[in-house]
Each structure stands twice: as structure tokens, then as C-alpha cells.
């Protein structure tokens, strides 16, 4: 522990060079903590990194499509029209129509809500469960750490997609089960990150100080240590959202999970795939592009999210 403190001291000293060499920092008026400084900080993160800005813009579009989808789409996503089957993209049908004459654009927009819902709820579940397991294991160690660690190793030993397939096949073909399956295969990532981040701070000075202030172990863990693990967890969340969407689409693609005629990106790609050979590329192409953009968005958002939740990034 002495060593850790020492290294921290050294690191501090090294920081001091740049930090103290920054006279503006001390001259600036005090930022009043609270909403305004948080917003200013988020604005700074977005402004300083254009990639983050783009990814947040795309994310905003996706959320907009998910919320407003049913009110803005030009056609009913389920209404077939035998007069206009397999039409190529046109002004009337931006992304063309499918074999039943349904408007691909409308179906894609409507599908956003379902795909986002599956991804966010699965990630939220695995974040909560993984964080609790990992934090407890990292803080208390001992038999709980050993057992949870081995269980996690066991989950990781399966090819994750196959495991998800098995879970959905066993539990039944419903949206909830896709969420549970996606959550279970993602728990290990959160548990491991949380365990590591909690473990390295278990003996930090501020943790001892919190104990001296009368906090019991659970309070120390939940209020003092865990929030410090958030920045790397945010990166994990963002990457995981992308995986979760891919995972849900993948399950639907192979016929597990969401069933037609419900619009969902994975099913649409699956259904469209058979028409690619005959030249009707737009059926699979547009949902595929959406899937790719969604995953890309979440991957790019990670860094920005981390910087936003990390107070040390503020000046």
C-alpha cells in the first residue's frame, strides 16, 4: 500500500508539472458545481472530438426514429400492396418495397424501436448484474470471488452466440428471452471490468478515509468505490450496445427470436437475402446498412461517454 501511495505521489508530482504549468486553471473563476458545469463539460467533449459529435448525432437520429417512428413513417409497415411488389428505390418508396409490397423505409424506421429496446434493456440488465457481481467479488474477494470468477469463466468458455441461441431455443421464441440471452452472455464483461476497477481501489486512501468517516462496507463500495469504476464501464456499455443489436439481429436472422411479420433489421436482412441473387439488392442492403451504422455509432460513442462521466476530464 505504501508503494501504491508512493507511486500515486510520484504520478501526482509528474502531473503537477503540466497541471501547475497551467496558470489559466487557477485563474479561472470557480465553476459552480451542478447542471451548468456538467452541460458545459459535455459540450466541451462534443466540441473537442468531431467523431464523438457525429456519433452522438447519429444516436440522436436513432432515438428520434424509435420514439417518433409510427408518427412519421409514410406507409404502414405491415400493409402489403400486391400492386407494388419488389419495386426498386424511388421517390415514392425511398428504399424500395419487398416481396409483399411493403415499404422498406417504413419498416426500417419502425424496427429501430424494437432493436434499440432489445439492446438497451439487455445491456442495462447485464450492466446491473455484472456490476454487482464484479464489485462484490473485487471488494470482498474470498470464496465469492472464486466462485463468481469460475462461473464467469465458464460462460466465457462457450461461443457466446451459440450460447445465446441455446438459451432462446430452450426458453422460447420471445422478445424477453432474446433480452435475457443477450444479457447473460454480456454479464462476464461487466463483471470483469467492475471487479478489476474495484479491486485496485480497495485499499486507496480515500477508501480508508471513507471507513473512518463511519461508512460501512456496502456504503464504501456503492458510494465511494463503484462510481470511480464508471468511466471504463461506459466504454463497455457503448461497445456492448452495438454487440447487443448485432446479437439480436443475428438471432432473428437465423429464425430465433423476433418473428415475421414484425419489422426487425435482422429478419429483414434474412428475408431480403434470398432476393439478392435475382437483383433486388435493396431488401437486404438498407436494413444491413442501418445495422452497420447503429453498431458503428455505439462503438464511436464509447470514448465520448467515458470523458463525460469522468470528472477528472474537467478543468
Amino acid at each position: 500500500m505504501q508503494d501504491q501511495q508512493f507511486i500515486a505521489a510520484i504520478a501526482n508530482e509528474a502531473d503537477g508539472q503540466v497541471e501547475a504549468a497551467d496558470p489559466l486553471k487557477t485563474l479561472r473563476p470557480t465553476q459552480s458545481a451542478g447542471a451548468s458545469s456538467t452541460i458545459a463539460h459535455i459540450a466541451y467533449v462534443l466540441k473537442s472530438n468531431p467523431v464523438t459529435l457525429v456519433s452522438f448525432g447519429l444516436f440522436f437520429l436513432m432515438v428520434l426514429a424509435a420514439v417518433l417512428g409510427p408518427y412519421i413513417v409514410p406507409y404502414d409497415p405491415l400493409a402489403s400492396n400486391s400492386a407494388a411488389t419488389l419495386q426498386p428505390p424511388s421517390w415514392a418508396h425511398w428504399f424500395g418495397t419487398d416481396q409483399l409490397g411493403r415499404d422498406v423505409f417504413s419498416r426500417i424506421v419502425i424496427a429501430t424501436r424494437l432493436d434499440l429496446f432489445i439492446a438497451t434493456s439487455a445491456v442495462a440488465l447485464s450492466f446491473v448484474i455484472g456490476s454487482i457481481l464484479g464489485s462484490l467479488a473485487g471488494y470482498f474477494g474470498g470464496w465469492f470471488d472464486t466462485i463468481s470468477g469460475r462461473v464467469i469463466d465458464t460462460i466465457m468458455a462457450f461461443p457466446l452466440f451459440v450460447l445465446a441461441m441455446g438459451i432462446v431455443a430452450a426458453l422460447g421464441n420471445t422478445v424477453e428471452n432474446i433480452i435475457y440471452a443477450t444479457a447473460i452472455i454480456n454479464i462476464p464483461f461487466y463483471a470483469r471490468v467492475a471487479r478489476g476497477e474495484v479491486n485496485i481501489r480497495r485499499n486507496a486512501g480515500f477508501v480508508h478515509a471513507a471507513r473512518l468517516s463511519g461508512n460501512n462496507d456496502l456504503r464504501v463500495l456503492a458510494l465511494h468505490i463503484f462510481p470511480n469504476a464508471l468511466p471504463p464501464m461506459m466504454v463497455q456499455i457503448s461497445l456492448n450496445l452495438g454487440w447487443a443489436i448485432l446479437n439480436a439481429a443475428g438471432l432473428s436472422f437465423i429464425g430465433l427470436g423476433v418473428r415475421p411479420p414484425t419489422p426487425e433489421w435482422g429478419i429483414m436482412v434474412a428475408e431480403g437475402a434470398q432476393f439478392i441473387v435475382s437483383g433486388e439488392w435493396w431488401l437486404a442492403f438498407f436494413p444491413g446498412i442501418c445495422l452497420m451504422l447503429a453498431v458503428l455509432t455505439f462503438n464511436l460513442m464509447g470514448d465520448g461517454l467515458r470523458d463525460m462521466v469522468d470528472p477528472a476530464q474537467r478543468t
Partner: protein, 580 residues
């Protein structure tokens, strides 16, 4: 501002010449000048000290000289030459050749400077091979020779040691061996002894001086410790905010410091005869030191520690597995238990302050953790105002009534503040958890009051730790500890990570708080000289035992144990205070 008076009368040819150097860093708030207008020369065989507090630009200057600034940094102005080689415009390839062969550097933390997964001998051989000095068996032989030069005993065996197998002092010797491997002509030592014990510091510094003298090398010693620089340097440059404020020969600098900053720095460096108020800048209004209350000893002790023992048995961490039990090879049985604290007893009078001094690993931190109830003792008793504390289980002690009476100020102000809490929330925490209902109702005003007591400006309370300076962070830590008006405060090297001038202010603050609030202190430190300033009594600890105890002045004036004598001798002494 900084036109150093050239007082080098010896006319030794200059090895290094730095002229009007400026270094700037690109930061979030625009370009910041970290160093500006710095000029100095280092003559052949001379030892130059660059002294300054954190942020003074002393390390940046040396990094610029080696051209190892990080990406955000840029040499924005000036000339640097090393024996007629232009260092500013030299190509990266030329610089690579110079580094290690002509100019080498010793870094702050020896453990971080060594590759943890390579044998130390191989790391020295690498440097020799890199600069085409020797290869293969010859490199090995030369490396062993170097290890012997830096006085590592049993050098052949140590060649195969990994850094983690060596102590901090030994690691620093290996780093010195690395730096000297190619017989460079200039050695830059950047805080070479920070983090080492005083006795180790002394041996390491003497080794550096001895070796560089023998080889006729020039040395630039970068340090925050004026006492250290005074003991080993021919000339000293004092830097502040990226500029040179004063440059002079060591004796002359101490005899007649010209710049007020230098004066304050000299004052703030504790010496054997200085009192706590002497450390503060001259112009600060100094309240008279209250007379020491000699009646203290008569009152009942606030803390009584009797025959305290803490054993760290290897079995605690490495339980024998079923396999080793089965085959009868039980490592836990064979290895001996280590006694970190070996049967110590002492007491602290109410309102008194006692220093616990010793080098790293002597058990002083273990002792303070046990008293704090952060660690369970193996046996022994700890009584706070006559009440046995070891009887309360550690788990329920968090909410015990005694928790509030027993608080601590931690060693590293950065490490001990939660990076996600604002200063206000840090100070609030103990009040919220352990304070009286009354305190909790008026928590905002209570925090303001405590902050005022430690002279922390109220508007800083909404900042996060990384937005505060080291001294401000230390104040937050002290404010948190005194928020509940504890009876006993344990100070675990509270100033070890601070600059001397900040240390001076913090020590005085602590001194005043004790008088005002009637607290008792247990001051844990490795620095006898600092302990003396704040404490009435001292306990000297070595290898888990108390080897000497008595009043601070007596112990320093006439130490009874040889270990205490060694500790005192190792403290670097700045020349006597200039005539004010």
C-alpha cells in the same frame, strides 16, 4: 527577470550551455509556457542543482535538454548546446546516440525506470550493447563490474535478480549503474532520492557524488529539497513558475539570498534548530507561539497502547492447498511468521502530541492502522480514554461512538480524496455519517466553518480534487479529519507529498489546530526533523520495536540508540540560516 549572474570564476569550459530556453505545452486552455527564458551553463566536472517546487519547470527543463518532452510539449525558444552539438536542432537519430552514451538520466521512481520483467543485469547489458560498447559475455562481465561499482553486494548473483526482488535503494543503485554504463559526461538526476528513506537517500547521494567525481562527470541535480541540493551541489539555480529567480554558488546563495522567493524557500526548509514558526515567510504576521503546557503529563493519557503485537503470517495470504497437504509439502508451515509490530507500548497524554518515527517497513503504518481500527492486532490492547477499543469488532466499529473521536490525516492528499467527490462532499461525509443531529441539520454552515478553520476558501469547496493544488487538497483532508472534533488525530506523513513551502504552512496549521481544538496527535513520519517541529515526544521505531523514546528535543540532542543517531546523521543539513 532571469538573467543569472555569471559568477563562474573558475573558467572551466562549459559542457552544457542553455540560452533563453522556452518550452510550451499545448493544453485544453491553449498554449501554456511551462519554461521561459531559462539560461544556465554546466561546467566540466561541476554539480549544478536546480531547485524548485512542483510546477516550477525544473523537470521540464531537463526533459527539454534530453529532448524527451511528451507530445504536447515543444521547445519554443532558445539555444541548447552540449559540447558544441546543437541539441535543439539535432535529429532524433543523433539524440538517440547522445542519450545514454553522452548524457544520461536518473529518474524519480527507480521501480518505474526498470523493466519489471527483465533481469537487472540484462538491462545494463542492453545499454552496453545498444551503444556498441560490448556484447555477449563481455557485456555481462562489464555489467557485473558496474553493479560492483554501485556497491551492490554479491553482484554476480544480483545480475539475475528481477527489480521486484530488490529494495527501493537497491533499485536506484541499479538505475545509477545503468546511467553510468556508457561513461557519459553529463548525468541528470531528477529527484533521485524522493521516496527513499533518509538513510538510503544519504548512501545513494554519496554514491552518485563519489562516482561522478571519480569520472570527472558533470551532474545536474534536480530536486525540491534545498537541504539536499546544498549538501551536494557546487552551484544552485532556484526556479519558480518556469523562470530562474536566482542562481548562485551554494554558499553565497545561502549566505545572501537575493530573491524573496529564495529566502522563503530557505526558511521553509526545516533545519535542526528551527522552530515551527521559523518556516513561514518573513512577511507573514506571526502569532506568538503559545507556551507549552507543562502540566500535560499529569492528566490521564488519551491513548494507551500496551504490548501490541501484529503478526503477518504467510498463512493468511497463502493457505496450503489440498495438493500440498496431500504430498506433505506445506510451504506455510516452513516459512516463519513476520512480526510487523513487536510488542510495543506507549501512551499519548491528553492534548499532547507524539511522533512515531522510523523508516519504511518498520511497522509504523501498521501501528497506526491498528489504532485506527483498520487492522486487527494479533494481541495487545489499545485504550482510548481508558476504554478498550480492540473489544469492538472491526465491522461494527464503523458506527461506534469512538469512531468520531479517532480520525486520521492521510499521507497522500491526492490518493485520500475520492476523485468523484467535490471538496464539500468530502468534508460532509463524516458529519453526515457520524455527526450529531444538530450538526446534520446545519451541515452547510458546519462545513463552511471547518473549511474556514483550515483556511480553505469557501469558493473552492465546489471543486473536484484534481482542480485543487496539493496544499489545498491537504487542507481538505485535514478539514475532513477535524470535522467531528476528534480527540485523537493520527497524522500519517501528512506533508510527505507536499512542497516545502506548503509543508511549512500545513505544519503551522496543524500546530494551531491542536492548540485551538485541544486535540492530541500521533504524528507518523520517517522524517525526524519534521516530527520534532510538531511533537513534544518522539518514539523511534525499528523493525517493529520501539528503540528509543523521550522528549523530542532530548532525543535529537543526545540520541541514546545508535539507530536514532544514524537517522539524525542522514538528514541533509542546509547551511546555517542567513542573517536576517
Amino acid at each position: 527577470m532571469s538573467n543569472p549572474v555569471d559568477i563562474d570564476e573558475t573558467h572551466r569550459p562549459a559542457l552544457v550551455r542553455v540560452d533563453q530556453l522556452g518550452v510550451s505545452f499545448a493544453t485544453r486552455n491553449g498554449v501554456v509556457e511551462a519554461v521561459s527564458n531559462v539560461s544556465f551553463e554546466v561546467a566540466n566536472g561541476e554539480t549544478l542543482g536546480i531547485v524548485g517546487e512542483s510546477g516550477s519547470g525544473k523537470s521540464v527543463t531537463s526533459y527539454a535538454l534530453m529532448r524527451i518532452l511528451d507530445r504536447a510539449g515543444r521547445i519554443s525558444a532558445g539555444q541548447m548546446t552540449y559540447s558544441s552539438i546543437d541539441l535543439v536542432n539535432a535529429s532524433e537519430r543523433e539524440m538517440r546516440d547522445l542519450r545514454g552514451r553522452e548524457i544520461s538520466m536518473i529518474f524519480q521512481n527507480p521501480r518505474m525506470a526498470l523493466n519489471p520483467i527483465r533481469r537487472v543485469g540484462d538491462q545494463i547489458s542492453d545499454v552496453l550493447t545498444q551503444h556498441a560498447q560490448a556484447i555477449g559475455a563481455e557485456a555481462r562481465a562489464k555489467s557485473i563490474e558496474l553493479l560492483k561499482t554501485v556497491k551492490i553486494r554479491d553482484a554476480e548473483a544480483r545480475y539475475n535478480a528481477y527489480p521486484f526482488e530488490l529494495s527501493g535503494g537497491m533499485c536506484q543503485r541499479v538505475v545509477i549503474a545503468l546511467a553510468l554504463a556508457c561513461r557519459p559526461r553529463l548525468l541528470i538526476a531528477d529527484e533521485p532520492t524522493t521516496g527513499l528513506d533518509v538513510t538510503t537517500q544519504k548512501t545513494v547521494m554519496e554514491l552518485i557524488v563519489e562516482l561522478t567525481r571519480a569520472r570527472g562527470m558533470s551532474t545536474i541535480l534536480i530536486t525540491h529539497d534545498l537541504g539536499l541540493a546544498a549538501s551536494y551541489c557546487d552551484r544552485i539555480i532556484v526556479m519558480k513558475d518556469g523562470e530562474i529567480v536566482e542562481a548562485n554558488k551554494t554558499d553565497a546563495l545561502f549566505a545572501s539570498p537575493k530573491h524573496p522567493y529564495t529566502r522563503n524557500l530557505i526558511r521553509a526548509t526545516p533545519r535542526l534548530d528551527s522552530r515551527i514558526r521559523d518556516l513561514l515567510p518573513e512577511d507573514l504576521a506571526i502569532a506568538a507561539l503559545p507556551k507549552r503546557d507543562t502540566q500535560l503529563q499529569a492528566t490521564s493519557p488519551i491513548l494507551e497502547v500496551t504490548s501490541l503485537i501484529k503478526t503477518f503470517s504467510p498463512t493468511d495470504t497463502r493457505r496450503p492447498g489440498w495438493l500440498s497437504n496431500l504430498i506433505g509439502d506445506n510451504p506455510a508451515v516452513r516459512s516463519d511468521a513476520q512480526r510487523a509490530v513487536d510488542n510495543i507500548s506507549f501512551s499519548i497524554p491528553a492534548g499532547g502530541s507524539v511522533g512515531l518515527v522510523g523508516e519504511s517497513g518498520c511497522g509504523k503504518s501498521t501501528t497506526s492502522s491498528i489504532i485506527m481500527r483498520l487492522l486487527e492486532p494479533t494481541s495487545g490492547s489499545v485504550k482510548l480514554s481508558g476504554v478498550e477499543l480492540t473489544g469492538v469488532p472491526m465491522k461494527s466499529f464503523a458506527r461506534s461512538a469512538y469512531r468520531a473521536q479517532l480520525q486520521m490525516v492521510f499521507q497522500d492528499p491526492t490518493d485520500s480524496l475520492n476523485p468523484r467527490f467535490t471538496a464539500r462532499r468530502v468534508i460532509e461525509d463524516p458529519i453526515r455519517m457520524l455527526g450529531s443531529d444538530e450538526d446534520r441539520k446545519s451541515i452547510t454552515s458546519r462545513v463552511d466553518e471547518v473549511a474556514e478553520r483550515v483556511s480553505l476558501p469557501i469558493d473552492l469547496l465546489n471543486r473536484f480534487p484534481h482542480q485543487l493544488s496539493g496544499g489545498q487538497k491537504a487542507r481538505v483532508g485535514i478539514a475532513r479529519a477535524i470535522a467531528l472534533s476528534p480527540k485523537l488525530l493520527i497524522l500519517d506523513e501528512p506533508t510527505a507529498a507536499l512542497d516545502v513551502s506548503v509543508q511549512a504552512v500545513v505544519l503551522n496549521l496543524l500546530h494551531d489546530l491542536r492548540t485551538d481544538l485541544g486535540m492530541s496527535y500521533l504524528f507518523v513520519s520517517h522524517d525526524l526533523n519534521v516530527v520534532r517541529l510538531l511533537c513534544d515526544d518522539v518514539l523511534v521505531m525499528q523493525a517493529g520495536r520501539i528503540v528509543e523514546q523521550g522528549s523530542a528535543d532530548e532525543v535529537l540532542a543526545s540520541p541514546q540508540s545508535s539507530y536514532t543517531q544514524t537517522l539524525i546523521d542522514a538528514i541533509p543539513h542546509p547551511p546555517p540560516l542567513y542573517a536576517a
